[in-house]
């Protein structure tokens, strides 16, 4: 993986295509997010349950840096995480996995608060 290169998605040049990905198009956003989650899960060779457990673990590990409202979503048993919060956990895990890879490859670091901020933005766009 080349951490320095930002890959442009296909068709990003057209304004119509940009509109397609805007926040108002929830189903399109959900499709983009679900396929990113599926790719990461496949790359890690995890089945669905294993992946979800991993995502919840990642999220709880970084919970100190999360906004209070988000922390409240993850109160209680990990197995009782609400479905809505699970999607946030999965988005968060996707970002953590990629950031961890890039940090290892480049000898840099990353901040959980940045991960949370971006994950919440993407999560909100899927609701």
């Amino acid at each position: 993986m080349n951490a320095a290169v930002t890959k442009e998605p296909a068709g990003s040049a057209g304004s119509r295509q940009k509109l397609l990905y805007s926040k108002s198009n929830i189903s399109q956003n959900q499709h983009v997010v679900n396929s990113a989650i599926a790719k990461t899960r496949a790359r890690l060779h995890l089945d669905r349950i294993q992946w979800q457990n991993f995502a919840i673990f990642c999220t709880r590990f970084a919970l100190d840096s999360a906004p209070e409202d988000v922390r409240a979503l993850f109160i209680g048993k990990p197995s009782e995480t609400p479905k809505d919060a699970l999607l946030l956990a999965e988005i968060c895990a996707v970002l953590v996995v990629r950031a961890e890879d890039m940090a290892t490859a480049t000898g840099t670091s990353y901040a959980y608060i940045d991960i949370w901020q971006k994950a919440i933005e993407i999560w909100e766009a899927c609701k």
Partner: protein, 137 residues
Amino acid sequence: MTLLDINKIAEDIFGELAKNLSSKDDWKHVENASAQSLIPLWMRDRLAKISEKTDIAVLEQQELTILAHILHAWPEYERLLPTSFCKKLQQHGKLEPLERAAVIITAYDYGVKNASTEARIRYRLEILAAVLQGGQP
């Protein structure tokens, strides 16, 4: 140490979706949502801290069972708590988020060991009544 740019990573993974999101606006939205929450800030903060140390779901269930038993055995103490809350406790009704938070915080933070049973019960219910009103006892 240099920090990675998570925006770029997100754009790499989620493409235009991540690119088109306005981070400032959305973060503000989350903060607003937080401000409108039904549970006071100090309670949410306390719940988050408690959840790091114990299983809140189990603690809540245990405390609700104890409270229901107390009200059954000592009905005279019902007057210390709001009527609607007592009713929900005895009939296993659905509690409001504030009520659930108050039950958990009271159970975790305000246990008394060296006192008579009645003194402990009274103290517990008085603290719970104060927390139920959203104030720090």
